[in-house]
Symmetry: C2
DNA sequence: GCCCTATTGTTAAAATCTTGACAATAGGGC
DNA sequence: GCCCTATTGTCAAGATTTTAACAATAGGGC
């Protein structure tokens, strides 16, 4: 990373995974080089924005040539941290938790899902994609032993805040939160939260469908 | 709606569901009135932004008093269209589709989930939360008969674009897309797409966890 | 009924984000 | 090896979004 990335704006960051995805596709299709212009057309962006975004991290392109797909893909991957092995746990093995554990390739996204917790006694000893399910009573002890840093929350909103609080004190520094609740971790430095509000997303779609925009 | 809402920015729209959620909580807790200031504190926004956002749609507040929670909640609900009954189908009854069908209260979000489609013969005749699962071969005929307008896509990315194309010609005007693929419907006016990229969200979290922002 | 306080709606300023423009230059054909 | 073309990196302009400021005014206490 050749530039100071301490003040990269969150808008840019949120676009990086999409670049990474498109470049991965191009690479898989054997495309070797691409210009900001063709990429822009493909991604429905302006070439200017792509060049501006990429230049936040350094000059990955060559004048008169464009960008080498494989190089750019791996550079963006490195920026995002796809090879980091953040120890991850998931709490709540209901339908949603189950689907998330199966659906996402955590390892390719920089996270290693190592344990799942639930309150349902019937699930104890079982596993999802060979990741063991433990009783939530064992959570604190597990954290002390294994020091996970990322927690995926697939639990009812009523339980979310207090569980998050105790997870923070157990060392969790990042939450991927699917409960219908906005986690409040302002009191705590260095804790990041991605709230995924599927309900909000659906409501936005409803508005847009009704207003044709 | 007392103001022209044809040029409301998408940033404002995307905040509305969150307002709606917080106001719903306040209402459920028996709070009758709230000022932009207290709401801002609660939601981690500026009071100015809240007033500006709400005023896109008209003056819902009273000087010296604030906003009536129940009124504001229902006004925002009406703007979003929570009472619209958009006929909705879901395609792909795997773990994710299953979880989405169960997890989201479609009716409270302006959509009525009426049918689920899959290719797995073993699922035919079964149902999820009493919504029937049909063979995807029956999709076209179903659309002609029942005229659904919203489609939830929980299918592999390889199948997404061609299925979306045929759904558009069958009358679908809104997609809630969970496949790891950016649906392209530019060629078609009046079709809206909400891409939910869970993988992108996780990658963003990874970046933030690694960079502590 | 009057005055004081709280709080809005609105306007203007500041900040941020996106787009356009273009000089600099690497690469490839001849 | 030179010139022409393609395309970047970057700077400046334009657009949008967010925040601050404040006059206008409704409500409630006395």
């Amino acid at each position: 990373m050749s530039k100071d990335n301490s003040k990269i704006s969150i808008s840019v960051i949120k676009r990086l995974p999409r670049y990474y995805r498109f470049l991965g596709e191009l690479k898989a299709n054997g495309i070797e080089r691409i210009s900001s212009n063709s990429l822009a057309q493909m991604m429905n962006l302006t070439a200017s924005q792509i060049r501006q975004d990429l230049n936040c991290f350094g000059g990955f392109g060559h004048q008169g040539y464009g960008y080498n797909v494989a190089v750019l893909h791996s550079k963006i991957g490195a920026i995002l941290g796809v090879d980091s092995k953040l120890k991850t746990i998931l709490i709540g093995a209901g339908h949603l938790g189950n689907a998330i554990a199966r659906h996402l390739d955590f390892e390719k996204k920089g996270c290693v899902l190592e344990a799942i917790f639930d309150i349902d006694e019937n699930l104890m000893g079982k596993n999802i994609c060979s990741i063991p399910i433990y009783n939530v009573a064992y959570l604190q002890e597990y954290c002390e032993k294994n020091k996970p840093v990322v927690a995926v929350l697939c639990i009812p909103k009523e339980a979310a805040q207090s569980l998050a609080d105790s997870l923070v004190s157990a060392g969790i520094r990042a939450f991927w939160n699917f409960s219908h609740y906005d986690l409040n971790t302002d009191y705590q430095e260095n804790v990041v939260v991605e709230n995924v509000h599927l309900g909000d997303s659906l409501l936005t779609l409803t508005y847009r469908a009704n207003n044709e925009i």
